[in-house]
């Protein structure tokens, strides 16, 4: 069965998007990305280190011609900064597909939805295809969809917290009302968290810290790949109905008496 993951005009095989932050070095990042099977990696935009010509560049380790770079706006707390970063990112590689995150405060890294909505509207007008990190709020997600976002990315729990999917019901509700992909962004700690997100019907998951901060990141990257695949197949299989009482698995017919 073909199961293509569409984001705007683009199509992908893997439903796992991986972040490239927090690794020991770029060699480890590249190995983890490869093990994850991801077609898309998130990247941040920062100043070039002009005092150290020899400082390695991410592009030397992860080839943007082979893996889709998804520029993000990590660290932006207002729409002006976010717009500036994404305009630069687009010029750098011609990438229209971007991840918008406008943060509310440093302690929670919760999205500032007022700024996020404002920024989404401008980016859509500028022909960006915008994937939006957002609160787990079905109304806000619908507003983003109406503004023209190509995907909504509600958090499962706080960024980098590893608390897993704390909001199964709201994530499910968001998915049931969305006509665009829903991707759980943030909170995932282990493979089963990713599976749960996929079993809820989400179209994909974004994982960074769970892989980068595992003791064996490359092994965890592979685990995430398999768990996303398992969760997706489980969701598509049409799960059995729950029952409050036991139902025997073996027939009583021809039982010896």
């Amino acid at each position: 069965m073909k199961d293509i993951f569409s984001l705007g005009k683009l199509k992908f095989k893997s439903r796992l998007i991986v972040g490239t932050g927090k690794y020991k070095n770029f060699t480890e990042t590249a190995k983890a990305v490869e093990a994850s099977g991801a077609d898309i990696v998130t990247v941040a935009v920062r100043r070039v280190n002009i005092t150290d010509k020899k400082e390695p560049l991410l592009m030397d380790y992860i080839n943007p011609k082979k893996i889709r770079y998804l520029p993000n706006t990590a660290g932006c707390f207002n729409s002006e900064d976010a717009l500036r970063v994404l305009r630069l990112a687009r010029d750098s590689g011609g990438w229209n597909l971007v991840k918008l995150e406008v943060l509310g405060d440093k302690e929670t890294l919760y999205p500032n939805m007022k700024e996020t909505l404002k920024c989404t509207e401008i980016l859509v007008k500028e022909k960006f295809e915008v994937m939006v990190y957002c609160s787990d709020d079905p109304i806000a997600c619908k507003q983003l969809e109406d503004l023209g976002a190509v995907a909504v990315m509600p958090l499962g729990s706080l960024i980098g917290s590893g608390h897993g999917i704390q909001n199964k019901n709201t994530i499910k509700l968001i998915k049931s009302r969305s006509n665009i992909p829903v991707i759980v962004d943030a909170g995932i700690r282990c493979a089963s968290d990713a599976t749960i997100a996929m079993e809820l019907g989400c179209d994909g998951v974004l994982v960074n810290t769970a892989i980068a901060k595992a003791l064996k990141p490359i092994l965890m990257a592979e685990a995430m790949k398999l768990s996303v695949q398992a969760g997706r197949k489980s969701y598509l299989s049409g799960m059995m109905q729950k029952s409050n009482l036991a139902k025997n698995s073996t027939t009583h017919q021809r039982k010896i008496k």
Partner: protein, 66 residues
């Protein structure tokens, strides 16, 4: 004359272009994006884009991020 490059004062020659600046730091244009005074400068303009006194220049690239 000087410009402000990535937040720091930097001396350049009067007729220097963005292309000259990148050459000075041995930076490949394909791996960066540049804005001057908050306006993104398209790559094809680097060669002829002359910098002016006190221009605020940002040279950015991609780093690891989530």
């Amino acid at each position: 004359m000087y410009i402000v490059l990535n937040g720091k004062k930097f001396e350049i020659h009067k007729k220097d272009t963005i292309h000259h600046l990148l050459k000075k730091f041995d930076i490949k244009s394909s791996k960066v994006a540049i804005e001057v005074n908050k306006v993104v400068i398209p790559r094809e303009k680097y060669r002829n884009f002359k910098l002016s006194e006190k221009d605020r220049v940002e040279i950015v690239t991609f780093i690891g991020g989530g």
